[in-house]
Amino acid sequence: MPRYVIERTFPEGLHIPVTAEGAAAIASVVANNADQAVTWVHSYVSEDRKKTFCVYDGPDPEAVRRVAEKNRLPIDRITRVSVLDPYFYR
């Protein structure tokens, strides 16, 4: 399954409280992703919480877009990536 990094911008900042509500929001994203065989691996969030870099596994870019739409998440850019391990070169 290809891996993608998805860049997103949240002009108001991204706030997911560590509460039952936050957990439910995350769970619904995960469930929607599963419909399209997409897996959210994890994300990096900028200090000001306005930008995220999300690592996803999915069958193709369209599946990633489809779940983003369902989850009402913005997309700036999708990039297909592979792992480069610096210690592999030692």
Binding site: Y4, T9, P61, E62, R65, E69, P74, D76, I78
Partner: protein, 872 residues
């Protein structure tokens, strides 16, 4: 008795029956290894009060099964109409429709079982597909059981399951072998070591019960040994009865069995008392097909032959058994006369019900025994088999048969048949991608037939050559041969050839933009519709749609596309439907509905075994959407498209693929490569006079710099663009319904207002790559008030609804039902269904009333019909 470890499956079947009772039809593919208990499970559910009406059909394990065998099993129960249609040899479509009507009209819910579907004939597979696509408002649960180990990736059943994979109401379940605990429960009274028994039998319930019935002793190594060990304890005459029963098939009338085995009825009782044979109403059968297979395998070859002869004689004496069964026994008995009597009849019966795979197999069987026949009769068998192979896509075998028939007809000096076989060889060679052979045989056919009295064979030979010329883009020759075929077919009053020839001439003309060409294809369409020539109807819709669309004529092409899709869907003409669906992906792309383009492309690419020519369009659309969105993997799609296009050797496929690649290269910031790709289309003449391709090729070639000529034959919008009139070009593109190309034209102007307009359109479409380029240009002009970054996700549509979904929502708000919405938008009501669930999903609502209310609250009270482009 409760079945062990099957409670979840019983529950599943009960819940599916409840849905069916509520009018939401369901189809379940129930898989599991042989002997795992599929039939026991289904019998249990069928015997419960939850299924008031049970229709049970079993597919035969014959080498060549009876066509629509399962329907024959339950026809009487399904009602007078189904039974009488089947008896009267009605077209199978009528049988299918009558079955649907019977399921709708009978006691609900109905449980329809298609047992052992892995052995089905082609017509039965089509029935499963037919029912699976018409589950809406069908108060029935259809369960198709199958052996998982039989259904490999190339098995036709796998194809059927793939075709139905995304249909609403279709699901799969799998029965697993028993756990060691369950085996222990079963073995508790026997004193056997449950762990050992489980390990040896793999937890297979049939194997376990067979061993337990054998009583004590070591566990036999295979299920076959277990069955034979059990049979070995019976009397000699009972053992002989079992052999005869195995030969006679899964179910047999007791008197036939007794006569065939030459035993008394008491011997039959011995077999049933021992539990090896089971009485099922008026017939006897093995407790399980695995037992029959075990016994069949134990009969030595020499005896088998004699058994088959006895079985055939008995069936003939009692006028019993169908044609397929008689052909089967005749074959087993190596009785050439009988095979030649029954196999061709069985083949014709199968062909009539469109079990073409089985028909081809019956002809092959006849041919194996045809050595002593006169050449002309052998030739006829080869020709009949060739036709059935052609219909099932086995072109190589069809060609082999034609070659054999040709030699025999030559030997007999039958010139007319020689010509007909040559014409077929031409067509088959074309399907196999051998264009040189196709052309040579086409001309040989005409040379052979021309000196004879002009007949249908010559008309068809002319039309065939016209078709080859049309596909080559040789308009003059296509018209010349096609007109001759039309004239002759009219004087012969042969409307099928007339429809074929009209289509060839019309398409040849329409492809180069000659308007009267379309009128010719429409005439072909009318004839085909009148005469019910389904394939010709599909071909006419396809050529009307593609010859207009390939010229960039969306306005004329889209209605044909929609009608063609509706027709091919209703008539289950899958190959044509997928080809049109690939073109729908292109049309949606051009219209700026990219989500819909992706949906159509994915739907085209999903089923296994989609023909390459259908894949190409879908891949081009998908790759272009990715390139325009700035998404990864554009090259993955466009590389595959190019590979397939080059393999086809046809410019109508290579040209658009190269042009899509040129655009993608330019968007990726490589104008040099864009020029290379565009020029790889070859010189203008290679584009066969297609003005749209000539224009787009010149435009993309000009992106690489260098002198940009303005080809006089280019389509007007491209010509304006190349001549340095971006606003005029943009207007012409908009007029034709190409918003992206319109913005592309504006983006070449360099003026701030044009660039701003282009940016707005690109942003709305989600064209991140082009938007970024235009934004750069604007910044270079000193413009400062642009949005920080053009955002591909900036959608004008609320709640992430697509344009098409908004259209559907408007119509829901108007109070229309799905069927009416479908009519309004020229899509099937099933497609509307999908849209409605997508809308409800995105809005988080449950009912259409809620959706209508949401629309009123969020988008204004009343949909304004003038706000969207008209849909025809």
């Amino acid at each position: 008795m409760d079945l062990l470890e099957r409670a979840p499956h019983v529950e599943l079947l009960h819940s599916l029956l409840s849905s069916a009772a509520a009018g939401a039809g369901r189809l379940l593919f129930l898989g599991g290894e042989a002997g795992v208990g599929k039939t026991s499970l289904l019998r249990k559910v069928a015997g419960s009060s939850r299924a008031p009406c049970v229709l049970w059909g079993t597919c035969d394990p014959l080498s060549t099964p009876r066509p629509l065998g399962p329907v024959g099993d339950f026809a009487e129960r399904a009602g007078r109409e189904v039974a009488s249609l089947l008896r009267r040899e009605a077209p199978r479509q009528a049988v299918f429709q009558a079955l649907i009507a019977a399921l709708r009209g009978g006691e609900a819910p109905a449980l329809l079982v298609l047992e052992d579907l892995h052995w089905a004939d082609e017509a039965t597979f089509d029935l499963a597909r037919f029912l699976g696509r018409r589950l809406q408002q069908l108060p029935a649960l259809i369960v198709a059981s199958y052996r998982i180990e039989e259904a490999g990736p190339r098995h036709p059943l796998t194809q059927v399951m793939g075709d139905l994979a995304t249909s609403a109401g279709v699901s799969r379940a799998r029965l697993e072998p028993l756990s060691v605990q369950a085996v222990a429960t079963l073995a508790s009274a026997s004193g056997m070591d449950a762990g050992e028994l489980h390990r040896r039998t793999g937890g297979n319930p049939f194997f376990v019960t067979e061993v337990l019935a054998g009583g004590g002793g070591p566990v036999p190594p295979t299920v076959r040994d277990a069955v034979l060990a059990r049979a070995a304890r019976l009397s000699r005459s009972a053992r002989r009865t079992l052999d005869a029963a195995a030969i006679l098939g899964p179910r047999v009338a007791p008197e036939v069995l007794a006569a065939c085995a030459q035993v008394e009825p008491t011997t039959l009782e011995e077999c049933t008392q021992a539990g090896l044979l089971v009485s099922d109403g008026d017939s006897l059968g093995f407790r399980h097909e695995l037992a029959r297979e075990a016994l069949l395998g134990s009969i030595p070859g020499s005896e088998r032959c004699a058994w088959h002869a006895a079985a055939l004689a008995e069936l003939e004496r009692r006028s019993a058994g169908g044609l397929a069964a008689r052909a089967h026994h005749a074959d087993g008995a190596e009785d050439a006369m009988a095979v030649l009597a029954y196999a061709p009849q069985a083949a014709r019966e199968a062909a009539r019900l469109r079990s073409h795979r089985e028909a081809a197999a019956q002809y092959a069987r006849a041919l194996r025994f045809s050595g002593a026949l006169p050449p002309v009769e052998r030739a006829a068998l080869f020709e009949a088999r060739a036709y059935e192979c052609y219909l099932t896509g086995r072109f190589e075998e069809a060609l082999e048969c034609r070659r054999a028939a040709l030699a025999l007809r030559r030997e007999a000096g039958e010139q007319c048949a020689v010509g007909e076989n040559l014409r077929w060889m031409s067509r088959l060679s074309w399907f196999l991608g051998r264009k040189v052979d196709a052309d040579r045989h086409a001309r040989e056919a005409i040379e052979t037939l021309a000196p004879l009295e002009p007949g249908a064979e010559l008309a068809m030979a002319w039309s065939n050559l016209a078709q080859l010329c049309m596909l080559e883009g040789d308009v003059g020759e296509a018209v010349r041969w096609g007109e001759a075929a039309i004239a002759l077919s009219r004087s012969l009053r042969n409307r099928e050839i007339e429809a074929h020839a009209l289509n060839n001439v019309g398409t040849a003309r329409a492809q180069v933009g000659e308007g009267e060409g379309l009128a010719g294809i429409e005439q072909s369409l009318r004839i085909a519709l009148e005469e019910g020539l389904e394939e010709h109807v599909a071909r006419a819709y396809t050529n009307l749609a593609t010859s207009t669309l390939s010229l960039g004529d969306l306005r004329r092409g889209e209605p044909w596309l929609r009608e063609g899709l509706v027709y091919t869907t209703e008539h289950d003409l899958d190959a044509w439907r997928l080809y049109l669906l690939g073109w729908r992906a292109m049309a949606e792309l051009w219209s700026g509905r990219w989500d819909e383009a992706v949906t159509a492309a994915r739907e085209t690419l999903r089923p296994p075994g989609v023909s390459p020519v259908s894949r190409i369009q879908a891949l081009v659309a998908l790759g272009t959407v990715r390139a325009r969105r700035g998404d990864p993997d554009a090259a993955v799609a466009l590389d595959e498209a190019l590979g397939l296009a080059v393999e086809s050797g046809e410019m109508q496929r290579i040209g658009p693929t190269r042009i899509a690649r040129a655009e993608a290269a330019w968007l990726a910031g490589d104008p040099e490569l864009a020029g290379v790709e565009a020029r790889a289309c070859g010189p203008e003449v290679a584009l066969k006079g297609n003005p749209w391709l000539i224009g787009s090729r010149a435009f993309w070639a000009s992106r690489a710099g260098g002198p940009a000529g303005v080809p006089s034959r280019a389509a007007p919008p491209w010509r304006a663009l190349l001549a340095g009139d971006p606003r005029g070009a943009a207007g012409a593109f908009r007029e034709r319904g190409f918003p992206y190309e319109a913005a592309l034209a504006l983006s070449t102007s360099g003026g701030e207002a044009d660039l701003r307009e282009a940016l707005e359109v690109f942003a709305r479409l989600g064209a991140r790559s082009a938007a970024a380029m235009v934004a750069r240009q604007l910044r270079a002009l000193g413009v400062r008030d642009l949005p920080r970054a053009p955002r591909a996700t900036t959608r004008s549509n609320p709640a992430g609804l697509t344009t098409r979904e908004l259209e559907v929502l408007d119509l829901i708000a108007e109070g229309l039902r799905n069927a009416e919405i479908g009519k309004r938008l020229f899509v099937s009501s099933k497609t509307v269904d999908h849209h409605v669930s997508a809308i409800l999903g995105k809005l988080g609502l449950r009912t259409r009333t809620e959706a209508a209310r949401w629309r009123a609250a969020n988008l204004g009270a009343k949909p304004d019909p003038g706000s969207r482009p008209p849909q025809k």
